[in-house]
C-alpha cells in the first residue's frame, strides 16, 4: 500500500490537481460544460501525443528534441497526400504516415547508436533535417484532410440510453486513450518495456544484464517517432491542413514529462503522469483565457506554475529522503 502510494503518489496528486482546477473552472464560468470539455480534449490531443513521444525516450534515458519537427513533417505529409485525393485514399495515408514516423524515429535511434553522439545533439540535428524536409513537402501551410478522418475527433461517443454520460465522452478522448493504450500497455508488460526502463536507469548495468542496449534504444526512438506521427496526424485532423513550421510542442512536451513525474535522466515514471500533466496545463490555459488575464502576464504565470510544481516535487522528495 505505502509502496503504491510512493510510486503513484505523484500521479494521484496531479489527478487531484486536475479535479480542483476543473472545479475552479466551473466557478469561473458556471456554464462550462461537456462541450467545453470536448474542446479541452481536442486541444490536448497533439500535446498528449507529443508528450507520449517524449516520455518514452526520456524513460529510456534520452531526450528527443525533434518531436515538434517530426509532427510538422508527418502532418504536412498527411495533408499534402490527402489534398485532392479521395476519401478512401486516407485509409492508405494514415498507416503510411505512421510507418514513416516509426522509421524516422528508428533512424534517430540508429544515428545515436552508431555515431555515439549524445541524444540531445543528434535530435537537435534531426530537428533541422525534419524541419527542412517539412518545408520541402509543403513550403506554406496547406493541404487537406479526409472528412471521415476529421470526424473521428469531432463529437461524442453515443452510449445508448445514457446521453448524460455520453456527452462527457468526446470521441477525441476515446481516440487518445485507444492510441496510447494500444501501444503502451502491451509495451509496459513486455520484456521490451522493462529493457527500455533498464537502459534508462543504467546503460552499463543493462548491457551487463544482457539487454541488447542498441536495439532497445532504437526501438524506443522508433516508438517515439510513431507517437509523434500520431501527433502530426492529430494536428492535421484538427486543423484540416498541414503546417511546415513546428508548433510549441517540443518545450511543452519536456515540461509535461517532468511535471508528470518522469525523471529526466531516465528509468523512472510512466505515461499516465505526463498525460495528466498535459490536461492540467491545457486547463490552466483555459482558465487564464476565461479570467481574461492580461496576456503578457500569462507567460509569467505559466512559467511560475511550472517552476513551482517541480520545486514542490523536489521539496517532497527531499523531505521523504530525510525522514
Amino acid at each position: 500500500m505505502t509502496r503504491l502510494v510512493r510510486r503513484q503518489g505523484w500521479v494521484a496528486g496531479l489527478l487531484v490537481l486536475f479535479v480542483v482546477l476543473f472545479v475552479v473552472t466551473k466557478l469561473i464560468q458556471p456554464g462550462y460544460g461537456s462541450g467545453d470539455f470536448g474542446s479541452l480534449v481536442r486541444a490536448v490531443l497533439p500535446y498528449a501525443f507529443a508528450v507520449a513521444a517524449q516520455t518514452i525516450v526520456v524513460i529510456a534515458g534520452g531526450i528527443d528534441l525533434s518531436v515538434g519537427a517530426m509532427m510538422a513533417l508527418t502532418s504536412v505529409t498527411a495533408a499534402s497526400m490527402m489534398d485532392g485525393a479521395s476519401e478512401e485514399y486516407a485509409l492508405f495515408v494514415v498507416p503510411f504516415v505512421l510507418a514513416m514516423g516509426l522509421v524516422l524515429g528508428a533512424v534517430n535511434g540508429m544515428l545515436i547508436v552508431v555515431t555515439r553522439v549524445p541524444d540531445i545533439v543528434v535530435t537537435l540535428a534531426t530537428l533541422f533535417v525534419l524541419q527542412g524536409a517539412a518545408l520541402l513537402v509543403l513550403s506554406a501551410p496547406g493541404g487537406a484532410v479526409a472528412e471521415w478522418l476529421r470526424a473521428t475527433i469531432v463529437g461524442t461517443v453515443p452510449i445508448p440510453g445514457l446521453p448524460e454520460i455520453s456527452a462527457w465522452i468526446p470521441k477525441a478522448l476515446v481516440l487518445l486513450v485507444v492510441c496510447l493504450c494500444i501501444i503502451w500497455i502491451p509495451l509496459k508488460r513486455s520484456k521490451l518495456g522493462l529493457s527500455i526502463y533498464a537502459i534508462g536507469s543504467s546503460e552499463l548495468a543493462a548491457f551487463r544484464s544482457g539487454v541488447p542496449v542498441a536495439r532497445t534504444k532504437i526501438i524506443a526512438y522508433a516508438l517515439s517517432g510513431l507517437f509523434a506521427a500520431m501527433g502530426g496526424l492529430a494536428l492535421t485532423m484538427s486543423t484540416g491542413i498541414g503546417a511546415p513550421i513546428p508548433g510549441p510542442y517540443l518545450l511543452a512536451s519536456v515540461a509535461a514529462v517532468v511535471l508528470g513525474g518522469v525523471a529526466l535522466g531516465g528509468g523512472k515514471g510512466g505515461l499516465l503522469g505526463p498525460i495528466v500533466a498535459v490536461f492540467v496545463l491545457r486547463l490552466v490555459r483555459t482558465d487564464l483565457t476565461l479570467l481574461a488575464i492580461d496576456p503578457n502576464v500569462t507567460a509569467i504565470i505559466e512559467g511560475a506554475i511550472m517552476v513551482a510544481v517541480v520545486m514542490f516535487g523536489a521539496f517532497i522528495t527531499m523531505r521523504s529522503r530525510q525522514s
Binding site: 544515428l111 555515431t115 555515439r116 553522439v117 549524445p118 540531445i120 545533439v121 543528434v122 537537435l124 540535428a125 534531426t126 530537428l127 533541422f128 533535417v129 525534419l130 524541419q131 527542412g132 524536409a133 517539412a134 518545408l135 520541402l136 513537402v137 513550403s139 518545450l251 519536456v254 515540461a255 517532468v258 525523471a263 529526466l264 535522466g265 492580461d294 503578457n296 502576464v297 500569462t298 507567460a299 509569467i300 504565470i301 505559466e302 512559467g303 511560475a304 511550472m306 517552476v307 517541480v310 520545486m311 523536489a314 521539496f315 522528495t317 527531499m318
Partner: protein
C-alpha cells in the same frame, strides 16, 4: 613463455592518439575544411571583411556557449541565456534614453543577476532539473519583458555609441568586440583550469557525492555558477544589441540552441565533468561559418536546413570518433 614484443605502433594509430591528446587540433582542422569549402563554392569570399564579420557574429554565440560549457560541466544546462541576453539588451536600450549609459547598463544587468540567482537556488537548493528550471525562468523572464515593454513603448530606444562601436566597429580591420571577448575568454579558461571554483565545477558535475564528502557545498557552487552564467549572458546581450542595433523582444532567443550545439561540438559532455572552453570557441566559429556557407548556397530553404542538420551531426560525430581513443 615469451612476451609479445612491443610492435611499432602504426602511423594511423599514432596520429589518432596524438589528436586524442590534443582535441583542439581536429576541431580546428574541421573548421579549416569548412572555410576551404566556402572559398571553393564562392571564390574570393574569404577576405578580410568576411573574417571580421564572422568573428563579430561568432563572439556573442561563443560567450553564450561559454555559459553552456560551464553549466554543462556540472551536468546542467542554461536555457535562460537567450531571454537574459534579450532582457538586458532591451532594458539597456530603453533605459539609456533617460539615464547615463553606465547607469542603464547596471539597471539592465539587475534582471540577469536575479534570474541567475533564482536558477541557482532552484537547481542548487531545491534540486530542480536545470533544463526545467531555466526553461521556467526564461518563460517568466519573457513575460516580465513583455510587461516591461508596454511601459516604455513611448520612450523610444537608443544604442549608446560605444556599444555600437564595440559591436560593429573595426580597428585596423580587427573587430573591436575582441576587446571584450578576449578578456572574457581568458577569464573563463583560467577559471576552469586554474581556480578552485573551476575545479569544483568539474568535480560537482562528475560526482556530486564525492565532492560533498570532500567538503564542497553544492548549492554554493551551483548558485555562483548560474549567477555568473546569467551575468555573462547579460553582457552578451549588451554586446549583441551593439551589433544588431535593433532592440527586439526576441533578440537573442535564436542563439540558445546553437549555443548548446557549439559547446557540444567543442567537446563538452552534457552529462558533466568533461570538456573545456577553448573547444567551445572553435565550436562557435564552426557554427557561424556553417551558417554563412548555407546562406551563400542557393538552394531551397528546406534543403538548407537539412544540410545544416546533417553537417552538425557529421562534425560532432567525426570529432568524437577522432578524440575517442578506443
Amino acid at each position: 613463455m615469451s612476451t609479445t614484443a612491443i610492435q611499432p605502433v602504426p602511423f594511423g594509430r599514432r596520429l589518432k592518439r596524438f589528436m586524442a591528446d590534443r582535441p583542439l587540433i581536429p576541431l580546428i582542422i574541421l573548421l579549416v575544411i569548412l572555410v576551404v569549402v566556402l572559398q571553393i563554392l564562392r571564390p574570393g569570399i574569404v577576405n578580410e571583411r568576411w573574417l571580421a564579420n564572422t568573428v563579430k557574429f561568432a563572439i556573442p554565440l561563443a560567450i553564450l556557449a561559454g555559459c553552456q560549457t560551464m553549466t554543462m560541466l556540472t551536468g546542467g544546462i542554461d536555457l535562460s541565456v537567450g531571454t537574459v541576453a534579450t532582457m538586458s539588451a532591451f532594458i539597456m536600450a530603453t533605459q539609456v534614453v533617460n539615464h547615463d549609459p553606465a547607469v542603464a547598463i547596471l539597471i539592465a544587468l539587475v534582471p540577469a543577476v536575479l534570474i541567475g540567482l533564482v536558477n541557482g537556488i532552484g537547481v542548487g537548493v531545491f534540486r530542480v532539473h536545470p533544463l526545467i528550471m531555466t526553461l521556467g525562468t526564461s518563460l517568466i523572464g519573457t513575460g516580465c519583458l513583455q510587461v516591461y515593454q508596454r511601459t516604455v513603448i513611448a520612450s523610444g530606444a537608443k544604442i549608446p555609441p560605444f556599444l555600437a562601436w564595440l559591436g560593429t566597429g573595426l580597428t585596423y580591420g580587427v573587430p573591436n568586440a575582441l576587446l571584450l571577448f578576449v578578456p572574457i575568454a581568458v577569464l573563463i579558461v583560467f577559471t576552469l583550469n586554474r581556480t578552485g571554483f573551476g575545479r569544483l565545477l568539474y568535480a560537482v558535475g562528475d560526482n556530486e557525492g564525492a565532492a560533498r564528502l570532500s567538503g564542497v557545498r553544492y548549492w554554493q557552487v551551483i548558485t555562483a555558477l548560474y549567477v555568473i552564467s546569467s551575468v555573462l549572458a547579460g553582457i552578451t546581450g549588451l554586446l549583441y544589441i551593439g551589433l544588431i542595433k535593433a532592440p527586439s523582444l526576441s533578440l537573442a532567443e535564436p542563439l540558445v540552441l546553437p549555443s548548446v550545439a557549439a559547446a557540444v561540438i567543442g567537446g563538452t559532455s552534457i552529462f558533466g565533468g568533461r570538456g573545456g572552453y577553448t573547444g567551445t570557441i572553435i565550436g562557435a566559429l564552426i557554427l557561424t561559418v556553417l551558417t554563412t556557407l548555407l546562406t551563400i548556397l542557393q538552394m531551397p530553404e528546406g534543403a538548407r536546413r537539412i544540410l545544416f542538420g546533417l553537417i552538425v551531426l557529421f562534425v560532432t560525430a567525426a570529432y568524437l570518433r577522432i578524440i575517442e581513443d578506443r
